[in-house]
Amino acid sequence: MNENLLRDILRDEELKAKYELSEDAINKAQLAPPYAHPIIEYLATIIRASILQNHSDATTYNQLKNIMKIS
């Protein structure tokens, strides 16, 4: 179900165009690695942490900081 959520967001026309996401990449997108594009990993991290694991928003952002390597 949550992978459908991930793919539904990735199917957004503007997002798809900006990051040149192919239909194949979207259809194969999963919450777990490997990721076809960093934006997929970014979104998958949000979904996994906030929806699947019910983490707080602050914890979820910390996970994003980790994958973006920012302090």
């Binding site: 967001i9 957004d12 979104l43 949000i46 929806i51 973006m68 390597k69």
Partner: protein, 726 residues
Amino acid sequence: MASIITNISFKNFYNYYGSFEKNEYIFDEGVNIVVADNGNGKSKFFNCFLWLFKDEVLDSDTKSRPSIRSAALKILSDKAKNEVEKGKEARCGIRVRYKDSNYEYEITKGFTAKRIGESITSPDDWYIYIEEIEVSKRDLILLQYHPVREEDERNRILNKLIQIKLRPYSLFQGEEVDKLIDFSNPKAIKDAVETLTNIQTYNKLKDTTSYMFKRAEDSLNNKIKASNQDTQRFDSIIEEIERLRQDLEIEEERNIQYTSNFIEYKDKIESLETANENAEKRKEFDDKIKTANIHLNNLKEEYENLTSKITQRFFDTSYAWIAHGTSQYEKKFRNKFQDYNEKRAAFKLQKLKTEDNSSVKFLPTDSPDYVTLKTMIDKEFCYICNRPAHKGSEEHNHLIKLLERPSKKSNIEIFKNDLSRFMSDILMGSHPYLEATGNVLNTVKETREKEHETNEKIKVLVARIKDLKDKRSNLIIGNDDAESSTKSIMAEYKNAISNLENTKRQLENSNLKLQKLNKDLHLLEEEKGRLTIKNIPESYKQNYSYAMDLKNAAERTKDRIYEDMLNKLEEHANVHFKNLIKYNDLKGGELKFIKSVNDAIEFRYQDQNGNEVSGASEGFQRMKVLSVLMAIISISKTGYEYPLLADAPLSAFGQAFIKGFFEETAEVFPQSILLIKDIYEQDSKNKLNALGNELLTNAKVKTIYVNQIPEGLPQIEAYTLKTKLK
């Protein structure tokens, strides 16, 4: 895999007297039916679910839902209570087994009742001990059940059977179906959709990405401020963004207020709609009653005139009713009159001939009267001549002669008692009447007819006015109808419509403003993301850019999914509706869903031309609710994972509806256990009617039980017998 109930059993539970083994119902995936006539244990069966999930039962006497503890004595089988000796105990309980893809679970609830007095109904004579819930589970490939001791795990197992938030949609009795979704409330459909689908996840993700964006923006801003670079354009963009966000916040608050007003006025209009409609109809009735009353008064006046003038018509020469039947007497009268005249003339002639002309008959004027003459005779003196009139003298004899002259009376009898004139007057007076006598019967008939006709018209009009007044009184326009004036309701309704239109305009303007502010904000945010600021690590900008793009994408996706869902909801609901009513003669209308403010969903039931259909039967109304419920469930990508447990859901349905219902239910719910009487037939050998027997051969119907209470047993001995037909 969905949760499938495999077994339900009772121990001394109402009429289900005896052990769990004696009262065991085995169910399967698909449609399961328990058929029973009234009083044979359907609602009591359903009470098992209420006990299981809510620790309460429905008391059919009081229509209340008391707790198990307070209802325990009623729940315990009368037969079991009666058999327990003083000081001994009886047990009562329910047991439900269900399975998912890996395990089978067994949940048991029960209580022990110890008899301490004589009465089987007085709570004072029984001591009730409510036992702790027992939950155990076994791996599907193993035989042994293991008790579950942790409370959290027990609750999880109970909730897995049917999630708490889904119970209203999965567990209902009779007319509760109608309350599942209140079509008049757009928020109700939205709530049902949000509960039964995963649309809320998109909302949650939208909020989460929005938070991530704010944090990413703060991270970037902090980094830029720390870089000590010339960030003039950047600062101005931040300033501009801040201003726009403040405007956006203000406008959003206004928008919320307008939305709230809009909903309030809409609710107000909906609540006033019937009253206003009734008020308008009342006004129509008032006008009709007023006109009818004027007409009635005119008719009454006409009738009054007619009846009061009936006496006059006896003597009115135009009608001459009094002369009716006298025409044959005219000739007789005329002949008698002629005869009279002739006889009288002859008599007069004869009289004149025999008259003694020697006597004085008439005296001149101023002659002495009888008394004077008598005095003069007695006094022997004539006062006229002023000379003596001695007795025996000529003068005295003359006086005597005068006194004894023939009487005046006899002359008058002969010459003055003439009735000719009187009779002539009668003849003349009767003449106009006699001319009209030929038409008396006609005029009487016409008058009678006119009276009858007027009277009938009055009766009809009085009945019509009464009918109008009755109909008018049925038009309720307020809680305190007497004080609610028709005009004020209509004015209030008109006012609410005007307010709604104004608010709608405000809301539309506000939505446009919000759109523009959001667009401007997005442009600035994008520009900010594109700005190349020295010494700022690319990862910060990338983080900002990802967060912003995902926030915007999540917003758009939520709207897109919502739109898609609405279309699918409409499509699925119509398919379910068509299938549910496919065996009915009447062709139903179309179900329409319209997105309203704040994602609320308005529902319409309309004909092929888009006209709203109202006044559908109770069965159709219930089918609409079920269609929408089934549609909401079936549009969910994961499908529904819980059983449908319903007591008398078909009570308002005809056989055609019921047939459609069974077929369609199997398509939506992985399992349904339906407690019904609608296919029961007392005189049938297997107690099923034609449709019931048809269902015996339907592959989607997996089990059919028939419940019966053996005839002739006193209440205290009554128990339910089950027969498995399939």
